[in-house]
Symmetry: C2
Subunit: 400 residues, 2 copies
């Protein structure tokens, strides 16, 4: 445990192709930005970088919300921040549970004293608006409805436009998990009237993990300002964080300076590409991958798949862990395993941000084909990549 | 707020000399490590880096505690992690308050339901063991005593060896804030029987901010395992974090991969230098700076000063903000302002980690002398640097 002769060498991590559920590949530009000289968290130069980062996050969230910022933690800290600020002990909250992250949100809410009314759905499914309407009828005192836009554990996409209308008609606030959608799929905070939203840097933003972009609507802030009890978490208390991110610049905690550099550059890259073009790129690459996987006989788990993450059933008789291990060791490709009920039964193939490319689509299809053929599974060689290529050929206009 | 014509340029932070209360200067080696390729949080290569980082943190804390790890947040997240895991609603806790961080610990503890018995002392003072003994006599059901080893807001050093005996004799657990001491001053977790301790990466470890090394004793873990209620924070729940840091590798949240790279390299640098040599270097540079500041007529605030942070009174008639602004703009040197009752009345000059050098000592003394002379304060030119140099001349054996 503390052997004084143990030697510690310089780290030399391999250059992977990150096609799991996150982190995704980080570009050289972002890795260069993260290594810029560290400066103080109250240095005027740093405060200017914070302001710009905030401005770019607002554009990405498509919001005018003043209270948009990056929480000093990973995506789950963003979840905890949203829940712990909005919920006071005894508040009723509806949480939509159809995977790991809805389950987690329920747990987080209960820990800060919410009376949670979960709506459960089979993993992989998406919620119909009627289910939310029904639950709100049963629990008319609901203060907050929490839902996952992009369920990273199942690859299910959750449309929000009808649901937000129902939630707001009831007088409740809408809290959205956009960890695996922001930067890759359409997320419209103002148009969809989302009251609290969180994401992570390591998915479609293609920045290292460590920050959680969040945004709160004026209605959410009003609930926070009218709290009768202090927020259970000092570290995540939005009222205090607001004074550092706002013009007062009151010291709260030391911001993760270099991570902010990285996020700033990642956001610059997104705005250079254009949000709509980026969403279109994710859609196209997903369609190509899907065509390839299905040509190889693989089937998708969710009826409504994300374009950023592709969850498929591991075929009968194929060794899940063996395939993932060979992908990593022979090709340097990381894909994700299944979680919970999908443990050993699902692969989660990410096409997020910098990793959502034609090159990666063809690579992963070819690699999977090779490995599965070695496992004795009869795959007509070349069918996967060919099917993917056909999708690209009909869509030459969109950059791959 | 969302002006579509606003341009965002590549960041170009200046190379500062960071001599405030943190962050401290980060070496080129650490900045190189942080920009290594991002890999997955369950990649065998990353797990090996985690294990090594953990091993090095144990050496730095001088502990054999199994439950030693880095929390995915800054130092204040480390504080919240320690408090929120050890405290159940209704638990009595003594918090020693003599500055910002004791005040913060009291706030954090109250938010998670502790019945806090604060022991208040004038800012800048250190606690005598008798005060703790007295408080424990008054509150015999105290479960946890929280104290700040290095009070960053006042520069006061808190000796712990007698206090730990008193606390353990009472049956309580000892919780220590070592944010500004770990890596620069003597911190002996096992010898001093510290049950829970937290630090930050951006002080004497000279790593960018964003991680909080923590360590829990078996007695602390036993209290955590016997909790009747869930930990209020999901993100900081030690029992869950233990499963990811331990051999089970159960996914909890996505670790801040590149920050871990940086911490790994920062710890390698510390162990290469040797902990004792590093402490001696901090002591020597502090003594030299102190001799210089006092020769210039500046006086220290705390009777027992840290060697890592020097808090002095701003002299009468000197413009606090003006001096700090000129230090930053003319010399690129950051020093810290006073907080709370010391706002406008104190300077906090850090000599932490990579920034604790003879070069920086002489630089800051010369720069301060120049600026104060410009402000019309009669300073015999050269006296500060000369007094510092005299200290070094008597201590040639220790590397500056």
């Amino acid at each position: 445990m503390s052997n004084p002769n143990e030697r510690f060498n310089r780290i030399t991590p391999s250059e992977r192709v990150l096609m799991g559920p996150g982190p995704s590949d980080v570009s050289a530009r972002v890795l260069q930005a993260i290594s810029a000289p560290t400066i103080g968290h109250l240095d005027p130069e740093y405060l200017a970088i914070m302001d710009e980062t905030r401005g770019m996050m607002r554009r990405l969230f498509r919001t005018r919300h003043e209270m948009t910022m990056a929480i000093s933690g990973t995506g789950s800290a963003g979840m905890e921040c949203c829940v712990v600020n909005l919920i006071e002990p005894g508040d009723e909250m509806i949480v939509c549970v159809n995977g790991v992250f809805g389950t987690r949100m329920k747990d987080v809410a209960e820990r800060c004293g919410a009376v949670v009314h979960p709506i459960e759905l089979a993993w992989g499914q998406s919620f119909e608006p009627d289910a939310i309407a029904q639950a709100l009828k049963e629990h008319p005192n609901t203060k907050v409805v929490g839902i996952v836009h992009a369920e990273t554990s199942t690859g299910a996409h959750q449309p929000l436009e009808e649901i937000t209308q129902i939630v707001h008609d009831s007088g409740a606030l809408l809290l959205v998990d956009a960890v695996t959608s922001l930067g890759g799929m359409d997320v419209r905070v103002d148009d969809w009237r989302i009251d609290a939203i969180y994401s992570g840097t390591q998915k479609c933003l293609s920045c290292p993990p460590g920050l959680a972009p969040v945004s709160f609507s004026p209605a959410a802030l009003e609930k926070i300002q009218n709290r009768k009890t202090k927020v259970a978490s000092w570290y995540l208390d939005v009222s205090m964080l607001a004074q550092y991110w706002g013009s007062d610049r009151v010291y709260h905690h030391t911001a993760p300076i270099n991570m902010t550099y990285a996020l700033h550059e990642a956001l610059r890259i997104i705005l250079e590409e254009g949000i709509d073009a980026r969403i279109a790129r994710h859609t196209l690459n997903h369609r190509a991958l899907r065509a390839g996987l299905e040509a190889m006989g693989l089937s998708y788990i969710p009826p409504r798949s994300l374009t950023t993450l592709n969850a498929v059933h591991v075929p009968e008789g194929v060794d899940d862990a063996g395939v993932r291990k060979r992908l990593l060791n022979d090709f340097g490709i990381e894909i994700g395993a299944g979680l919970g009920p999908f443990k050993g039964k699902a692969w989660r193939i990410g096409l997020m941000g910098h990793a959502s490319t034609k090159r990666n689509v063809l690579l992963v299809l070819s690699a999977l084909e090779t490995i599965m053929a070695d496992q004795g599974r009869s795959v007509a060689r070349g069918e996967g990549p060919a099917a993917a290529s056909a999708v690209y050929e009909t869509k030459q206009a969109v950059p791959a």
